[in-house]
Amino acid sequence: MTSICFYFQVHQPVRLNRFNIFSGNTSYFDEVKNSHIFEKVSNKCYIPTNKLLLNLIDEYKNKFKIAFSLTGVFIEQCQKYTPDVIESFKQLASTGNVEFLSETYYHSLAALFSQKEFEEQIKLHKNLINDLFGQKPKVFRNTEAMYSNSMAKIIENLGYKGIITEGHEKILSWRSPNYLYKPVGCENLVALLRNYKLSDDIGFRFSAKWWEEYPLTADKYSAWLSKCEGDCINLFIDYETFGEHQWQDTGIFEFLKHLPFETLKYNNLNFKTPSEVVKSYKPVGVVDVPNILSWADVDRDTSAWLENEMQRFAFEQMVKLEEKIKQNPELLKIWRLLQTSDHFYYMCTKWFADGDVHKYFNAYDSPYDAFINYMNVLQDIKNRLGV
């Protein structure tokens, strides 16, 4: 039996205002833009997809299961702008077939600079998930699936049973991602590795006309799944794939709607949540990841956020404030919002000239605009802190 393990990442950053140093008392965050984007994505993705998934879970009872990871910044904005969407997530939780994962509250890069801050944010998030959905998460995923041996150790010590990362050749070489692996040096934690090929078939290639497999249908995809060897096929996808990255007219909702039926036609396939996968299977080997791995772009490392001089400088300047800012509860929250990885991603110059996906997700005209804006906000905070 091979288990299909779906997990959807749900995140919206809190975008900064255009903070010109001459603009005076502007607020740091762009309420108008954030609410506008949030409502747009809710209508295109969150509302219809939640509804569809709820119907599918109803229809297939305990045979169709999924998992979500909702960032704290997503939840906060959701409560503010589209509270109905939170209700529908609660409904999904109450079916008993939906698992909620753990991550850093602020979709942050905290793991890269402070274990203390990292753990505090995990705790904040865990409490929020427990309050909202009555679940105590057992599986952790770090921002953009960042992972290393030492991060795995921290997560094990916090009592988690599973951790999610990318199933890349970098760490697997010839081995298959369709099994559980044991992080080196851990005893009670297993790693679930994303099958990036099959995940990206949905997330990136679904509507790509250049793709030889276009158009992708649920029966074709299920046939691929049934032919896979292994214990679990981890399909980890950005939730916004449904209706936002892949628009409704690509047929993405039809695909999702028929997928459980087509998949369950095969006797060798079932659906399991990440925690169930952890309980059901044994690790077949060890993964050793001394350098940080992630699922971001082709490089699968931290270079989308911390490659160029601007990104590293902005990050260092933000990090430096940790000690001082923790004595100032009012500014602490703002500082944490500035840790969200998206702010650094906007400063990425790697692919800028190519105008590809980075551009689509960028809130600024250029990485340089992103940098100045971030630094202006940070400087204002420094002034208020008296640094």
């Binding site: 140093i21 001459f22 601007m310 110059t349 000239a353 250029s366 340089y368």
Partner: protein, 378 residues
């Protein structure tokens, strides 16, 4: 080919364009006869396959000549200027009719009449490159109808119109009723090896403006921006390089704004001095009201200097690693200048990335695309 400016006598991109174009056409075995007005200094060159002929009676310098106070008609242009242009065009026709050629290529309004006449007399195809229109040069302030009419006629009579940007193409369609199908966009280029490149430089907090001191180039916005920057940061020098009819007014403005001691007016600079100015600056600012292309931005980048460009500049269509601003938004311009001055990592990133962007912007590219345009007419 009928040209106008030619190095060393030049006041703008047209001169650089003509020189680099004929040089690169020549090296690709295209035989060019270039007719230009008489110079005060003779043009020295030995470009293979290129014959340069100076025609006309007296040297003509269009944009720098001081206006005779009694002549209000020929605004901004010198005494007798239109008459000289007319004589130049007639001599061009006279000269060209004695020569053999397959195609006529002229640049801007100043050579258009000769181009049209030659086409009529020989039946050869006519290519017109528009580097800037009368509306651009005057920043929309009292454009001369006579010139606009010549431009219109040239665009209409041409078999192919070359523009230096998409923005310019749009302007010709909207303002001049040009036929979209015969317009080709061919960007200007840069000879990177002539500049200092990415050599490490000492930071001196120098902000550079370089260009003709006219409304078109936006020097007023530059000074108002300077004022805002200086309110926040005291140790900054603003260099205004170039000459033009607004010099006196600009000097007065800098004094009125109380920033006279932070603004340096250089007057005329030689090519060598210009290269040093680019390399010394920490940031190059081009706040042009109208800028069909803006070769100076490429020159600054080739000198390892980050650039802030007016959004509507043609060059902004090509360069990604730069700041693009509205020329009137002096707060945003000041914000960006301060960003570059306060955070060295920003300028470092930008200058490196923009430098690698212009690697493929050689004049060879311009010449190849021009040859393509010729071929489609022969």
């Amino acid at each position: 080919m009928l040209g106008w400016e030619f190095p060393p006598a030049k006041t703008g991109g047209l001169g650089t364009h003509c020189f680099e174009l004929v040089k690169n056409l020549g090296s690709k075995s295209v035989n060019v006869i270039l007719l230009i007005p008489k110079r005060s200094q003779n043009v020295k060159h030995n470009i293979p396959n290129v014959e340069i002929e100076e025609v006309g009676s007296v040297p003509i310098m269009p944009y720098n000549s001081t206006r005779e106070s009694t002549v209000t008609f020929e605004k901004g242009y010198g005494w007798n200027f239109f008459k000289e242009v007319d004589i130049f065009n007639k001599k061009c026709v006279e000269y060209a009719l004695k020569k053999k050629f397959d195609l006529i290529h002229c640049h801007d309004w100043i050579t258009i009449n000769a181009g049209i006449e030659l086409k009529k007399r020989t039946g050869k195809p006519l290519v017109v490159t528009i580097h800037s229109t009368e509306y651009d040069r005057t920043a929309n302030i009292y454009p001369l109808n006579e010139i606009v009419e010549i431009e219109k006629r040239g665009i209409q009579e041409a078999d192919t119109v070359i523009t230096v940007s998409k923005h310019m193409k749009q302007q010709l369609i909207e303002r001049y009723g040009a036929d979209e199908k015969k317009i080709r966009v061919i960007y200007n280029g840069i000879n990177v090896s002539k500049y200092f490149g990415l050599t490490k430089k000492e930071r001196k907090n120098i902000v550079l403006f370089l260009g003709r001191l006219s409304n078109q180039k936006g020097p007023y916005f530059f000074l108002h921006t300077a004022k805002k920057v200086l309110e926040r940061k005291n140790d900054v020098t603003f260099v205004v390089a170039g000459q033009g009819d607004k010099l006196a007014e600009l000097i007065k403005l800098s004094i009125d704004l109380g920033i006279g001691d932070h603004v340096l007016f250089t007057g005329y600079l030689t090519e060598e001095e210009i290269n040093y100015a680019y390399a010394m600056a920490d940031v190059y600012v081009m706040p042009s009201v109208a800028e069909p292309y803006g070769i100076t931005a490429l020159e600054a980048i080739a000198s390892g200097t980050p650039v802030i460009l007016s959004k509507n500049a043609g060059v902004a269509e090509e360069i990604k690693h730069c700041f693009k601003i509205d020329f009137w938004d002096t707060y945003e311009m000041a914000n960006k200048i301060l960003g570059i001055l306060d955070y060295p990592v920003l300028g470092e990133c930008m200058r490196k990335n923009s430098y690698s962007e212009i690697k493929n912007f050689g004049w060879e590219r311009t010449a190849n695309q021009t040859i393509e345009a010729y071929r489609s007419l022969l």
